[in-house]
């Protein structure tokens, strides 16, 4: 596989996949530790009504309105879940289930009603994305990385995903101590004067930003895989948070790279013609990594009796 083939066709999708995976895995660590992993599930499902409403309001299939629509939908969903939880005194899982399935149903209904089911906005795309299509045709080889004209033709998703990764990493870096403290001992964090409620909400919003940025590339359902599987696998490898974050980044990168290559070149090696879905394969690889960690990870055993 030469530079002429790799750089235009594989480099950018690979990088986008890696950025998306890491951007999701970072907040995912804290979500998994706080037992809020399924908020990623909820956010991924409500992305659809968000982009449908944005499409209806602006009348065009353009990225910024859709991202804003998705972000608003995510915040709305979190608000709705909290409202249902408090007003109805319903347990969090069921509240999430009620909120996001109803919003998703509303999104599908709007989609059908506004007759956009033929246009670019189809449900399948929002669900499993189109990573392979984010190519960089302006490049002609490795030397294009130094060529400003070619660099101007980089796909927007790469810039977006890179920026999102920087924002997410900055959040985790800046709020490292409060996040760590409030995740493990919320009461103590509150006595130290930390605003744990605000911090929890900020964490969910950062996760939502990562999810919204990533859904365009890898689709919304796969985002959940990235929120949960690398951090969960990392959790089974160590007892220390810093090491867990490092493992989760490593697993996320590994899933993205392996998944992309297996999806692109695996079928060829098995004698088949076409590639398979890259984002699906990334999710599958992350699942395999989790399975391996669950069988062989050093810290996989539960101490004490399991909750019945």
């Amino acid at each position: 596989m030469s530079g002429e083939e790799f750089v235009p066709l594989s480099l950018t999708p690979l990088l986008i996949g890696v950025f998306a995976a890491v951007a999701c895995a970072l907040p995912g660590n804290f979500l998994v530790l706080r037992k809020q992993a399924l908020i990623g599930d909820a956010i991924s499902h409500v992305v659809l009504p968000g982009i449908v409403v944005a499409f209806l309001v602006t009348g065009m299939v353009s990225t910024w309105p859709m991202m804003i629509g998705a972000a608003v939908a995510a915040v709305l969903a979190v608000g709705l879940i909290e409202a249902i939880r408090r007003l109805g005194r319903i347990e969090p899982g069921a509240a999430m289930g009620v909120a996001f399935t109803s919003m998703f149903a509303a999104g599908v209904l709007l989609l059908e009603q506004s007759d956009t089911s033929g246009v670019h906005l189809d449900v399948e795309h929002a669900l499993y994305g189109n990573l392979e299509s984010l190519i960089w045709l302006d490049a002609i080889g490795w030397r294009s990385l130094a060529d400003p004209v070619a660099l101007a033709g980089l796909p927007d998703e790469l810039i977006r995903m890179g920026l999102t990764l920087i924002v997410v990493a900055a959040f985790v870096w800046l709020f490292w101590r409060p996040l760590k403290l409030s995740t493990f001992d919320e009461g103590f964090a509150r006595t130290m004067g930390m605003r744990t409620g605000v911090l929890g909400l900020a964490l969910v919003i950062v996760a939502a930003i990562a999810a919204v940025a990533a859904f365009d590339a890898v689709g919304s359902i796969i985002v959940i895989a990235m929120f949960i599987c690398p951090p969960a696998a990392a959790r089974l490898m160590t007892n220390r948070l810093e090491v867990q974050i490092a493992w989760s980044i490593a697993f996320a990168v590994l899933s993205a790279v392996l998944g992309y290559f297996i999806a692109g070149y695996g079928p060829q090696m098995l004698g088949a013609q076409n590639a398979v879905s890259a984002s699906g394969m990334i999710a599958t690889v992350s699942g395999v990594i989790l399975a391996l960690a669950a069988f062989f990870g050093p810290c996989r055993k539960r101490t004490g009796a399991p909750a019945v």
Binding site: V32, K35, Q36, A37, L38, G40, D41, I84, G88, E91, G93, A94, G97, V98, T101, S102, F104, A105, A106, V108, L109, E112, Q113, D115, V123, E124, L127, Y128, I221, I222, I224, A225, I228, C229, A232, R235, L236, A263, P267, A272, N274, A275, V276, S277, S279, G280, M281, A283, T284, S286, G287, L290, A294, C299, R300, K301, R302, T303, P306, V308
Partner: protein, 401 residues
């Protein structure tokens, strides 16, 4: 048009879908209740997403064996196998590793669905055009529903309900209080698997009508809605079945009565409407009832504090208190008490004094524990006891005019 739809006058397909959806709603509502009570509602999300690889694999197997590839029973069998495997993975991850339940659910959900998506793309390249029916399993596809499909759904739903009926006692106990069930010797893990297995059966049966993404709604929303109306598990189950059936029936009828109304989402939204009505208007647990209770409580507190202030000659600044006292004829607009007001205020002050004595005296310990600032002392002590306390603090005096 809607009337016709509700009375099943809109033709063969519409009637089939409506009755099938009603059955599905009842089965889903009843089964989902056990999941909800067990605080594992989102396992249904994992189960439903885990059906995708099974459906795709079944399709591939059937096509490679020379068949059409869209035989419903074959596809549903495939979905059941992969969903069952997904269930076992969730159960294993939760019990054998230190991952929490929600992480296990999310992991199984996304990985199985991702693998299913990979298989879907394999199918796409395999025999283009033949996989068009499979994507209908994502959101449901009721157009062109066959009699055999309806039979599958009806039989599946009925079987599920029968099993639920048979296993309702152990499942109910494990869902409600698993530790007690374990202490009683029940095999909690196996009964958990039974609960999740039944949810899986409902999911598989519902794949055709509402698709895998929205079947989750039918398993979660009716039990949550039913929970507002009662505190007894058997009634929650029945009400959930009823709510599910109604949302299935009305939703399917609505969707048949107008164009561009996909069945699955409409059923879910009708279910959400039922939930919203329950949230706000249910007696006891509903929001409206809570607000009314709070207002009633507020009025009692203000009234009591107002009377005590009147009795001690303190000025009242709080507008609500003044308004309540005026409306009850106990005070005038400027805060000066009326005759009845002074009598009531004196009684309130005496009651406070009586309570003070009760709470200071060891002999009245039981009664003292019932003091909350609003409780009438006559409901706690007998006349003789009150008389004895009055002897201690000085007898009743008339209020000076």
């Amino acid at each position: 048009m809607l009337w016709d739809a509700l009375f099943l006058q809109l033709g063969y397909n519409a009637t089939l879908v409506t009755i099938g959806a009603c059955f599905l709603g009842v089965a889903a509502g009843v089964t989902g209740t056990f999941l909800f009570l067990r605080k594992r509602s989102l396992v249904s999300d994992a189960i439903s997403h885990a059906t995708l690889p099974g459906v795709a694999l079944a399709f591939i197997v059937m096509v490679s064996l020379g068949g059409e590839g869209r035989n419903l029973i074959g596809l549903l069998t495939g979905s059941a196998i992969s969903a069952g495997f997904g269930l076992l993975c969730v159960s294993w991850l939760t019990r054998q590793t230190r991952l929490a339940e929600d992480a296990a659910i999310g992991a199984v959900l996304s990985v199985f669905f991702g693998f299913g998506v990979v298989l879907l793309t394999v199918i796409q390249s395999m025999s283009s055009g033949r996989q068009a029916g499979l994507e209908g399993f994502l959101l449901g596809s009721t157009a062109g529903m066959l009699w055999s499909d309806a039979i599958v759904i009806a039989v599946g739903g009925a079987l599920t309900l029968a099993v639920v009926l048979g296993l309702r006692r152990p499942m109910g106990l494990v869902a409600f209080d698993p530790e007690f069930a374990a202490a009683n010797g029940m095999n909690v893990a196996r009964i958990d698997l039974a609960i999740m297995g039944l949810a899986m059966a409902v999911t598989v049966v519902g794949l055709k009508i509402v698709g895998l993404i929205l079947i989750v709604a039918m398993l979660i929303i009716p039990p949550v809605a039913a929970r507002f109306w009662t505190d007894r598990t058997d009634r929650v189950t029945l009400l959930a079945g009823f709510a599910g059936g109604v949302s299935g029936y009305v939703g399917a009828a609505l969707s048949a009565s107008a164009p561009a109304m996909p069945t699955g989402p409409i059923i879910v939204l009708v279910g959400f409407a039922i939930f919203a009505i329950s949230l706000f208007f249910a007696p006891n647990r509903g929001v409206l009832s809570a607000v009314l209770r709070h207002l009633r409580f507020q009025r009692r507190v203000h009234m009591r504090q107002g009377l005590l202030a009147l009795a001690q000659g303190q000025p009242i600044y709080e507008k609500l208190t003044l308004r309540l006292l005026r409306r009850a004829g106990l005070a005038r607009a400027d805060g000066v008490p009326t005759e009845t007001g002074r009598a009531r205020a004196a009684k309130a002050l005496r009651d406070e004094k009586r309570w003070e004595v009760v709470r200071a005296d060891q002999a009245f310990e039981g009664a003292a524990a019932l003091y909350d600032g609003l409780r009438e002392i006559e409901t706690v002590l007998t006349e003789d006891q009150i008389g004895e306390i009055d002897r201690r603090i000085g007898g009743l005096k008339g209020v000076i005019a």
